[in-house]
């Protein structure tokens, strides 16, 4: 048995050494859950990391005991099996500990879940309607509304047999013709529904994901802290092009948002003619987006 010990020690040190260089951690942010740009997404990230480390400790503990027992008590070393098979004390302990851990993770989770549901006092309400296979956005306070579909160039490139160099697209299949434009620092309430089948509007940087169900209106909210472009997708299988109805949210300063809204109004003869809005706005958004970026 002494013969094996140095080997085990060397292996352990080797494992620890490989963890040291931070270069190995460089891709971590892309692998791990996003921290996002809202308070809720930050809370969700922290709960995720807390539970992740709890799982790590449990995993190392349980598998450590298991592998040690198997290694230490192997037959070739003359181990004799114990014959005990009951211990009420042990069973109470290993029932109570998981129970306490569950309560410990349930409290912060419940707090965040309750915060997520509190859509009161929103300054801006946007109705999001899922269609096969696009999104329709309607700013209920101002009447501005338009469809948002997969960007035409991306749609052409993704066709089966289309021989296109995909490296020309920075965000392949994650670009839309008309992104949703929202102000930063404002509580925005989203109303979710669908026109045909169930969709789900999902933007992970904002920690927003809600089923859009025909005949139902679900709601959630966000306050975006940083301007930027945040991308998401439909997260409920909705048919043929479920993978090709991306979400793009462009968060801009409140002044830029006000002027964008003005521009949308100007581009529309009358707010009632919604068809006209959706077609004209698609032409107007493009130059404006480059201006803000």
């Amino acid at each position: 048995m002494i013969k094996f010990k140095p080997v085990a020690v060397v292996a352990l040190i080797g494992c620890l050494l490989t963890l040291l260089p931070m270069r190995l951690m460089a891709g971590w942010d892309e692998l791990n859950m996003t921290q996002g740009v809202t308070q809720v997404s930050q809370d969700v990230y922290e709960i995720h990391m807390m539970i992740f480390w709890v799982c790590c400790v449990i995993g190392v503990g349980v598998f450590g005991v298991m592998f040690y027992s198997i290694w230490r008590h192997r037959k070739s070393q003359g181990a004799v099996a114990a014959t005990f098979h009951e211990s009420t004390t042990v069973e109470i302990i290993w029932t109570a500990i998981p129970f306490a851990i569950l309560i410990g993770v349930a409290i912060p989770s419940a707090k965040t879940l309750i915060a997520m549901e509190d859509t009161s006092n929103a300054e801006l309400t946007i109705k999001v309607t899922g269609y096969q296979w696009k999104w329709h956005y309607e700013y209920l306070d101002s009447g501005v509304n338009f469809f948002s579909t997969l960007h035409h160039d991306h749609n052409a490139a993704r066709q089966l047999g289309a021989d296109v160099d995909l490296s020309q697209f920075e965000h392949y299949l994650k670009e839309v013709d008309n992104p949703l434009v929202v102000p930063v620092g404002v509580k925005i309430r989203f109303l979710h529904t669908a026109n045909d089948v169930i969709h789900s509007w999902w933007v992970s940087d904002l920690a927003l994901k809600k089923d859009a169900i025909p005949g139902f209106i679900n709601e959630n909210w966000t306050v975006i802290n940083e301007p930027g472009v945040y991308r998401g997708k439909c997260a409920e299988l909705c048919g043929r092009d479920h993978g090709f109805m991306p979400v793009v949210v462009r968060a801009v300063s409140q002044d830029d948002f006000a002027s964008w809204l003005q521009q949308q109004h100007a581009a529309t003869d009358s707010p009632k003619s919604r068809q006209a809005v959706s077609t004209t706005s698609s032409n107007d958004v493009q130059p404006q987006r480059t201006a803000v970026n």
Partner: protein, 292 residues
Amino acid sequence: MSSTTTADHHDEHHDHGPQKGLARWLFTTNHKDIGTLYLWFSLIMFFVGGFMALIIRAELFQPGMQIVDPMFFNSMTTMHAIVMIFGVVMPAFVGLANWMIPMMIGAPDMALPRMNNWSFWIMPFAFAMMLGTLFTDSGGPAGGRTLYPPLVLQGGDSFAFVVFAIHFMGISSVMGSINIVATIFNMRAPTMPLMKMPLFVWTWLITAYLLIATIPVFAGAVTMLLTDRYFGTSFFNAAGGGDPVMFQHIFWFFGHPEVYILILPAFGVVSQIIPTFARKPLFGYASMVYAT
């Protein structure tokens, strides 16, 4: 048992062994033969479902579309799930139950050997019917394994075949479960009270009850889908006063116990193997039974 039930072929020479060739497997009432059939069926379906998974992963190797049409991709994910759940995991455990439960409780065979034969032989037809829809014009089912309306109602007529196949799979599972419950309660050796049963038998007893309780609910839900699609009802159609979320509630009344149906027999297997190879009695048998 099998030698007495097959006595209606009038052999002059007293050959009481199993029949030869295909007839042995088609007409068998022997629990080990049926267990073997279940296990082979499960293995074959594992390769079928695994091949579908390969298609899914090959398509996802790069972003965009490379190999298959999105509808075919969706029917691969849908069928992969149904094949793996109903065609691989569940038959594998029923096969193990057929082999092990009579031997573990000291019974000569299952309580209902003819129903045992029937409950197996329904399954190949159910899966042939479901997999066959892949070769029809409208393609296989592509609405996802959870069969959520309204999406699932948009598909072609493969939907009706899938509902029928699910009914068959359900009947097969319920008959298998009834058989297991009947065997465990009626055919234990006289010296084996419930609290001395091997843990695999215990986990399967609970699994069988879960199946009997939840499969009919699932069958009812898919039947409501069927009438929504073909007979103008609006159980799940919001425009007709129905509720698409109600399907999700009914589905998960089945779906949540289903995860225990899939894992409990495996827990039972582990609880037999580890004590055997550790050469020591199972720790905390009674609490393991109550936990099941």
